[in-house]
């Protein structure tokens, strides 16, 4: 386990460093820039759905979905991140308590 921790952590760090160290010329390419703008959108959207609607490798619909809906509402109302997270966790806990 320790080997995996050290190797994976070192790899993750080196990828962060590599991104900062690539010559600026690489960014001048409009396709690279456009792709870099799209990546976080796709990844965050994927993280939203997979972390809300799955359990292991199964698709599930549980209290987290209610939390996510409230989070979406809070974001639409321009609530700060902390309030968004607090509203989502409280809602999820409450739904679990009731159901």
């Amino acid at each position: 386990m320790w080997t995996a921790i050290v190797v994976a952590a070192a790899g993750c760090y080196l990828m962060k460093l590599a991104g900062l160290s690539v010559p600026r010329r690489a960014l001048d390419h409009p396709r690279v820039e456009a792709a870099a703008a799209r990546l976080p959108i796709a990844l965050l959207a994927a993280l939203v759905t997979t972390s809300t609607l799955t359990s292991g490798r199964a698709l599930v619909l549980d209290a987290r979905a209610a939390g996510l809906a409230v989070a979406g509402l809070a974001v639409a109302l321009r609530a700060p991140v902390l309030a968004v997270v607090a509203a989502a966790t409280a809602t999820t806990a409450l739904v679990r308590l009731v159901l």
Binding site: A4, V22, A46, A88
Partner: protein, 214 residues
């Protein structure tokens, strides 16, 4: 409070807000990681050394779900690859060299990148440091309280991650193309969950992002 607010105050306030939110997330990570069989020291080492939440959750998730340590590490690395692309975007913004670049690199994560792109350099450093401190503090408390928090779900903490991701995603959905990409990527990843190894669905979303033209 002084009548004339320091211009950086809102940035610091938002950074601390994001930090506290990720601290709560770190609490659940610490509890989940120890429940997956990692020691308290291993759990905390990951938060200090790896410091990229999705990869950490992936690593302990795969190991906890019975996957091999190698598969867990590989998934973590693949998930962490997005930070290289964040770094690519941040480089011209931060313009750091030497030791500062080495320090900045560890802070290149979802939250600091999102804040840097909207608030510039102070947003990056304030958010990076706030999240690093809170994430690690949350990890320690979560790992130590792992037994007491044996079921973090009861507190709804498993919804903290999705909520944070939504909060980070929303400001980026500034056009029809962006919204369409988010919907497609989210659905593709979800449909891939039952048929691909843990961690791969999110990477498929990255493939979607690179495949679309506009």
């Amino acid at each position: 409070m002084a009548a004339i607010a320091h211009p950086r105050l809102p940035v610091v306030r938002d950074a601390v807000g994001i930090g506290v939110a990720t601290g709560a997330f770190g609490l659940s990570y610490g509890a989940v990681a120890t429940a997956a069989g990692l020691s308290v020291v291993q759990t905390c080492a990951l938060s200090v050394l790896m410091f990229t939440g999705a990869s950490q959750f992936a690593l302990v998730g795969v190991v906890g779900a019975g996957g091999t340590v190698l598969a867990g590490a590989l998934t973590a690395l693949l998930l962490g690859s997005r930070n290289a692309l964040y770094g690519l975007r941040l480089a011209p913004l931060l313009r750091v060299r030497g030791a500062r670049r080495a320090a900045a690199a560890q802070l290149v994560i979802d939250e600091s990148t999102a804040m840097a792109l909207t608030r510039g350099r102070p947003g990056f450093w304030a958010t990076g440091v706030a999240v690093f401190v809170c994430w690690n503090a949350g990890t320690v408390v979560g790992a130590l309280g792992g037994a007491a928090l044996a079921d973090p779900r009861a507190l709804g903490l498993d919804a903290a991650g999705p909520a944070a991701f939504v909060a980070l995603l929303a400001p980026r959905l500034d056009g029809r193309a962006a919204r369409r990409l988010a919907v497609v990527a989210g659905i593709v990843a979800l449909l891939a969950v039952p048929v691909t190894p843990t961690g791969v669905p999110v990477l498929l979303a990255a493939v979607v992002a690179l495949a679309v033209r506009r």
